[in-house]
């Protein structure tokens, strides 16, 4: 096979199938994919992966999969599902990875929209979902499953095991050895490589069509940026339908030739992370935040001595850890010594138990990350960086270069990417990694990409003095206060949410005199805090209304106010009054989206009475709300909510200037 | 945590202990003061240490002071070996060792030869070790088990009016069922054959606190004498059981391990009139008075219970002390007076001991122990014993002279046995004619 592969390839590494073939010939014996299965890390080398993928492609072709067809891929991160993407690409088709936890109805839109004929799914569960919507999607002609467990009695002819198809493909490949190479050769960089559906906060999902060229460009710039190579390991555990996973686990892996590692199951991700100890890691802020919370909670149970040691060295790390990681001068010699000691006693072991000992580079993206959180990881020696991007930009607009990490910016534009700020503050992007189009949505495409070829990200931001991009909010959410100053609710909310005690915050201020806020406390963190102080409480509602909790939250709000006062553009957005809600905002009550974003308008309407009280200067307000429990029943929660004033600070910019 | 640290610290100290070279003659005291045999251990080592204290008070051996260090073995062979190994190289090296335990003596038998440290086994251990050609470093001083057994038969014969009168008699041998108890078998069997008495061997399983069946057998067999070869709790139990079975204790003759106060006192009245062997003549001696005056009056006595001064074990310890000191003194005569002797030199001293009556008299111990004269061939040096009787309050000697059995016969047996050992261990016996 290498011989033919070489012929096909030439030197053009411009499509993913060609990259795969190249790896198979250049480093055929090295491990390409691992999966924890049956107790051990099963491994496949590049040449095995190439062979499997070929066979799968041939099999698909034998079933009638043609150039231009879309292939739905549904399931957890399984090696064969990754390979299936490449198999589709070999035949000139387009893989459409879908969220595996979506319910059948949610799936049917994509299936219909993308005119899916072929679907490769993980297991019985996904097959069942597809069968549920099959009526609605008459085009769906073949469902291939990876895991045969429980599939014995599905005797519908259109349901087949992937094994069978691969076997069929092997025979097909043998009898038509040139067929697939020909198909691969037909592939062009400007072909659409993958279609990723964006969930979108409003409206129906849109299929973002990305070409081989754009994803390879995006991947390559990242790979070069951090000099990733075939010896790196990454844990592939994020949904395959998310652009982040596609960039890191597929595109970059194909470009750099590093190993992707699929966890055994959702529950074992943390264990598997620890076992593999990846050198390259990617996670949304939420994951890092949860990790930190568990670290802190687990440390609470430690003996007093150990706890003291931990906090002492964490203080040392806060003081100088990030600077030492950045290789900045000016760290006191004593601090360096202490940090080295801390590295033996705390940071090293901590990285180890988190499974991050071997990490060279870790990225976070997808949402804003709290500076404290960010600083924590960097200070214990994990090279965590932020990147900025979206599905439409192959998740690669800005990156933080090593040594130039700022906690509140998303870094500098990636090589080959042009970024400018529109007059209304919106961030505009141009470069090869832009989407080709929204699938079957020419209007939307035209709206998103202007005539100059700039993509409108919808985010508001600005460049700071060092040329780092700072994102403050969604452009459409940015409003004006009554006095005309900028009001960026998400920015303020995120600031509040970075405190571990606050889970959600909703601020109001657009067109108003001052800013007020609803707060949701974090049950875990505050509960723990309360227990340590022997504050008894019976549940969320009770805990939320404790005086001590209010004082705690006020402190948090005031801290955030103090920080805001330093920002010339946002110092008017300090929170004057707040209340702690009597219930947690919940997607089941439609207050949050499924991705846990606040539905601002809905909340404002639902709690109108509370907002009125906030602005009317009342000290408390009674409210009764209907809630939906997990089992579908509904009930009422009521409480007399206190409203509290928070201290605000005069703008500090004047001083700074002086 | 703290304890562990201390242990480490002391272990470290222990390891470094060997380096100090002292101007004192050092004797490790591998003793036992707890456990079932504590009475013997504390009495014996009490006596030996008391005597050494006295020697020091009197100015040492030509000015050389004696020092000693104790180590508790609990009569356990393994711990005894550890004690020996730990103590042997301290304070410039041990000059000699005396474990007062057959098991420990066996455990260090090879080691003392290798370390060139003489070991005395006063009245126990391998009898054939008296053959100094095969066992150059072992000294079963005064009387080995075999000579003692010979002495017993001799005494019984004398009692009957001649050894030949024992012909046709029945002698029961009631023994502790162990190496110790079986040691005199060859001698007794040889005598039985030679003299023509019937030997009835009765084993008492360890620890010997129940002897009903043995004494019933004795009651039925009605032997003329019972030789009691017991140890520890076996002794009072034997006497008590004899009484309850109506066997006259006057006809019971005990080995010296069955002849201490500790063996008879618990038996109470059942012991009155019982006889046993000893190699000390019970009584008071000027030496004991000196001990009381100089050592105990000064509060330096080793025994907690002063009434035990002069008791069998204590006197036996004093006896051991005398012999040790005399051996060192003898060695100094050859290798330099006032110097500290090495183990090898002390060995020479032990091999050339000559504690005669004049010497004993000078020490204030005339008659307390028989004269001892050792040679390269004979590491025993005496072979004499006495018989004592318990009168309900104290032991009284009942043989005016020292009793000695057929030493020639015993000597022959010893040489045979030692020869066999030498062959097994591939040892070439020394040629004593070449020894100076």
């Amino acid at each position: 096979m290498p011989a033919t592969a070489a012929q096909v390839l030439g030197d053009r590494l411009d499509t993913f199938p060609r990259l795969l073939m190249r790896h198979a010939s250049a480093r055929g014996g090295q491990v390409a994919t691992r999966e924890k299965d049956l107790g051990i890390w099963q491994a496949w080398t590049w040449s095995e992966v190439a062979a499997e993928t070929r066979a799968m492609a041939c099999g698909l072709s034998a079933l009638g999969f043609k150039r231009g067809d879309n292939l739905a891929i549904v399931g957890d991160n399984r090696p064969r599902l990754y390979w299936a993407m490449c198999a589709a690409q070999m035949l000139g088709g387009v893989p459409v990875p879908m969220y595996q936890d979506a319910v059948a109805q949610e799936m049917s839109f994509v299936l219909e929209n993308a005119e899916i004929r072929f679907a490769i799914v993980e297991d019985q569960e996904q097959v069942d979902k597809l069968l549920e919507v099959k009526e609605a999607c008459p085009a769906l002609a073949h469902i291939l499953y990876d895991d045969p467990r429980g599939m014995r009695h599905y005797n519908q002819t259109f349901i087949q095991g992937l094994d069978e198809v691969v076997e069929m493909g092997r025979i097909h490949d043998k009898s038509h050895p040139d067929f697939l190479d020909g198909e691969i050769a037909l592939g062009r960089p400007e072909d659409i490589a993958v279609m990723l559906y964006t969930s979108g906060t409003t409206g129906k999902p849109k299929g973002v069509c990305q070409t081989h060229a754009s994803f390879i460009t995006a991947a390559r710039s990242g790979v070069d940026f951090d000099s990733l190579g075939p010896d790196d390991d990454i844990l592939s555990y994020l949904p395959m339908a998310w652009v982040g996973d596609h960039l890191f686990s597929y595109a970059q892996a194909m470009v750099a030739g590093f190993t992707i590692n699929c966890p055994e199951s959702g529950e074992t991700v943390m264990t598997d992370l620890r076992e593999i100890g990846p050198t390259y890691y990617f996670a949304p802020p939420r994951v890092f935040e949860n990790l930190l919370t568990t670290v802190m909670i687990r440390m609470e149970d430690a003996s007093a001595l150990k706890r003291r040691m931990f906090h002492y060295f964490m203080a040392v790390a806060r003081r100088c850890g990030a600077e030492i990681l950045d290789g900045k001068p000016g760290v006191a010699a004593l601090d360096r010594q202490l940090y080295a000691l801390g590295n033996v006693l705390v940071y090293g072991p901590l990285r180890n138990v988190l499974g991050m000992s071997r990490i060279r580079v870790a990225y976070t993206a997808g949402a804003a990350i709290g500076p404290d959180l960010f600083r924590f990881y960097r200070s214990i020696g994990i090279n965590l960086k932020q990147l900025y991007g979206s599905t439409e930009t192959c998740a690669a607009v800005c990156l933080q270069p090593d040594g130039e990490i700022k906690f509140d910016s998303v870094g500098k534009p990636a090589p080959g990417v042009e970024v400018k700020i529109a007059d209304n503050g919106e961030v505009l992007v141009r470069g090869e990694m832009l989407l080709k189009e929204y699938y079957k949505r020419p209007d939307d495409t035209a709206e998103a990409i202007d005539r100059e070829g700039f993509f409108h990200t919808g985010d508001a931001g600005f460049f700071d003095e060092d040329g780092h991009l700072k994102i403050i909010d969604r452009a459409k959410d940015v409003g004006k206060m009554a006095n005309g100053s900028l009001f960026a609710p998400n920015y303020i909310e995120n600031k509040l949410k970075f405190v571990s005690y606050i889970k959600e915050a909703v601020v109001f201020g657009h067109g108003l005199e001052k800013v007020c806020a609803f707060i949701n406390i974090d049950m875990g963190a505050v509960g723990n805090w309360a227990e340590r102080r022997n504050i008894a409480y019976s549940g969320y509602t009770d805990l939320a209304q404790k005086n001590e909790v209010y004082d705690l939250i006020r402190e948090c709000v005031e801290n955030s106010n103090a920080e805001l006062s330093h920002d010339p553009m946002l110092s008017d957005s300090q929170v004057h009054r707040f209340l702690v809600l009597h219930k947690e905002l919940d997607p089941d009550d439609d207050e949050l989206t499924r991705t846990r974003k606040v539905r601002r308008g809905f909340v404002a309407d639902k709690y109108r009475v509370l907002i009125d009280s906030l602005y009317s200067g009342k000290q408390s307000q009674f409210i009764e709300t209907q809630v939906r429990f997990e089992d579908g029943r509904t009930g009422m929660v009521s409480a007399d909510l206190r409203i509290m004033e928070a201290k605000t600070y005069p703008p500090q910019s004047a001083k700074k200037a002086a | 945590m703290n304890i562990a640290k201390k242990i480490l610290l002391t272990l470290a100290l222990m390891a470094s202990g060997g380096a100090v070279v002292a101007a004192e003659q050092y004797i490790p005291a591998i003793d036992y003061r707890v456990g079932p045999y504590a009475a013997g251990g504390s009495g014996f080592f009490g006596g030996a240490i008391d005597y050494m204290t006295l020697v020091n008070i009197n100015g040492g051996i030509n000015g050389v002071k004696l020092i000693w260090e104790e180590c508790e073995t609990e009569y356990n062979a393994s711990r005894g070996v550890e004690c020996y190994e730990r103590l042997k190289s301290k304070n410039g090296g041990a000059s000699m060792v005396e474990p007062l335990s057959t098991g420990i003596a066996y455990g260090i038998l090879d080691r003392v030869a290798q370390d060139k440290i003489p070991m005395t086994t006063l009245g126990y251990g391998r009898s054939d070790a008296a053959d100094g050609r095969v066992f150059p470093y072992v000294f079963p001083l005064i009387t080995s088990y075999w000579n003692q057994a010979a002495g017993m038969i001799k005494y019984l014969g004398d009692k009957e009016g001649g050894l030949d009168k024992l012909k046709g008699k029945k002698i029961a041998f009631l023994y502790h069922d162990s190496a110790f108890g079986k040691e005199p078998f060859p001698v007794l069997e040889a005598y039985a054959k030679q003299v023509g008495f019937e030997l009835l061997k009765l084993a008492v399983p360890h620890p010997g606190n129940e002897q009903q069946s043995q004494w019933l057998q004795i009651r039925q067999a009605k032997p003329d004498y019972v030789i009691l070869w017991g140890w520890g709790v076996m002794n009072p139990t034997a006497l008590k059981t004899a009484q309850r079975n109506g066997y006259p204790r006057e006809k019971i003759l005990g080995v010296w391990w069955s002849g201490s106060e500790e063996d008879v006192v618990p038996a109470g009245d059942a012991a009155k009139g019982y006889t046993s062997m000893t190699f000390n003549t019970p009584g008071n001696y000027p030496l004991l008075d000196e001990l009381k005056k100089k050592v105990y009056a000064a509060g330096k006595g080793n025994l907690e219970d002063k009434s035990r001064i002069g008791s069998t074990y204590h006197m036996r310890g004093v006896t051991a002390g005398i012999l040790w000191v005399e051996a060192i003194r003898k060695a100094q005569e050859k290798f330099g007076k006032g110097k500290v002797m090495t183990g090898e030199q002390v060995r020479w001293g032990f091999e050339n001991l000559n504690v005669d009556e004049a010497k004993l008299k000078a020490l204030g111990a005339l008659g307390m122990l028989p004269p001892v004269k050792t040679t390269c061939l004979d590491h025993e040096g005496s072979g004499a014993v006495k018989v004592q009787r318990w009168d309900g309050a104290a032991w009284k000697s009942i043989t005016p002279n020292w009793v000695v059995g057929d030493r020639a016969m015993i000597r022959k047996m010893m040489e045979e046995s030692a020869g066999k050992y030498a062959v097994e261990k591939k040892i070439t016996p020394r040629d004593c004619s070449k020894e100076g």
């Binding site: 299965d37 049956l38 107790g39 051990i40 014995r152 009695h153 199951s265 074992t268 264990t271 | -």
Partner: protein, 262 residues
């Protein structure tokens, strides 16, 4: 393999089995049969002799009277080793796992009859012994995968929740690749979800591996749902035998047992 199970011939049958302990009769004149590939349930109130029946099947108890016909051979009783050897595996009413061992080791024990290594080879742990160990480990991992207990693979069984222990015990029995599987109240003490899982496993085993299953269970819903035929015992006597529907309408059974429930 292809189109599901077919219930085959009788492979095990009992005639007039009577068992007593020191005068107390546990079973009296019990007779029934088990067909290949079927799921056969034994039901009855507490103390009806259900567990005793299972104990007779795999040779823990030896009946005083009666005959057992196993694979066409007539015999007075079974013995534990032989029955294990001839492919009868079981679980126990009160979980009988090896508490000191991990889940993995517990299931590995189930494969002991398939292992040829001896203690000398084991001691050297090189060559055949090691190869064998690894080979069987693979099989065991498949069972672990099947029962979805990957995450507790190396946990000592003593620390597991009840439901999981039951699952591990089933795993141990499955490791022997039995032809007949005796399950003594596999769902006792489980919550609804755990019961559903267990049901699924039992059906899968029966279906995919063709294993004959003899089952004691209290949950009537489950029994009637999954079993092919049901024997009803009461006070050591058989009072009913037949398909779930037949049993459901049997007068004696209703009086003795079901009547209480419905």
């Amino acid at each position: 393999m292809d189109t599901g199970r077919k219930i085959g011939d009788v492979i095990l049958s009992f005639e007039n089995i009577s068992l007593s302990f020191g005068g107390v009769k546990a079973l009296t004149n019990i007779g029934f049969d088990v067909r290949e590939h079927e799921i056969r349930a034994i039901i009855g109130p507490n103390g009806a002799g259900k567990s005793s029946m299972l104990n007779v099947i795999n040779g823990v108890y030896h009946p005083q009277e009666g005959e057992i016909i196993f694979h066409g051979k007539h015999r007075r009783d079974m013995n534990t080793y032989e029955s294990a050897k001839s492919g009868i595996a079981r679980t126990f009413q009160n979980i009988a796992l090896f508490k000191g061992m991990s889940v993995l080791d517990n299931i590995m024990t189930g494969r002991n009859l398939k292992m040829k290594s001896n203690f000398l080879l084991d001691a050297i742990y090189w060559g055949p012994a090691r190869r064998e160990e690894i080979e069987h480990r693979k099989k065991v991992e498949e069972i672990i995968d099947f029962l979805e207990i990957q995450h507790i693979r190396k946990t000592p069984v003593g620390r597991l929740a009840y439901g999981l222990q039951k699952r591990v015990e089933l795993g141990r029995a499955l490791a022997a690749e039995p032809s007949i599987l005796l399950l003594d109240e596999p769902m006792a003490g489980m919550n609804v979800e755990e019961k559903q899982d267990m049901c699924r496993f039992i059906l899968d085993v029966n279906d995919q591996l063709g294993t004959t299953i003899v089952l004691i269970e209290h949950d009537m819903g489950v029994v009637m749902d999954i079993s092919d035929r049901v024997v009803v015992l009461d006070y050591g006597k058989k009072i009913g035998d037949g398909t779930p529907d037949e049993v459901r309408t049997n007068r004696d059974v209703i009086n003795a047992y079901l009547g209480v429930a419905h």
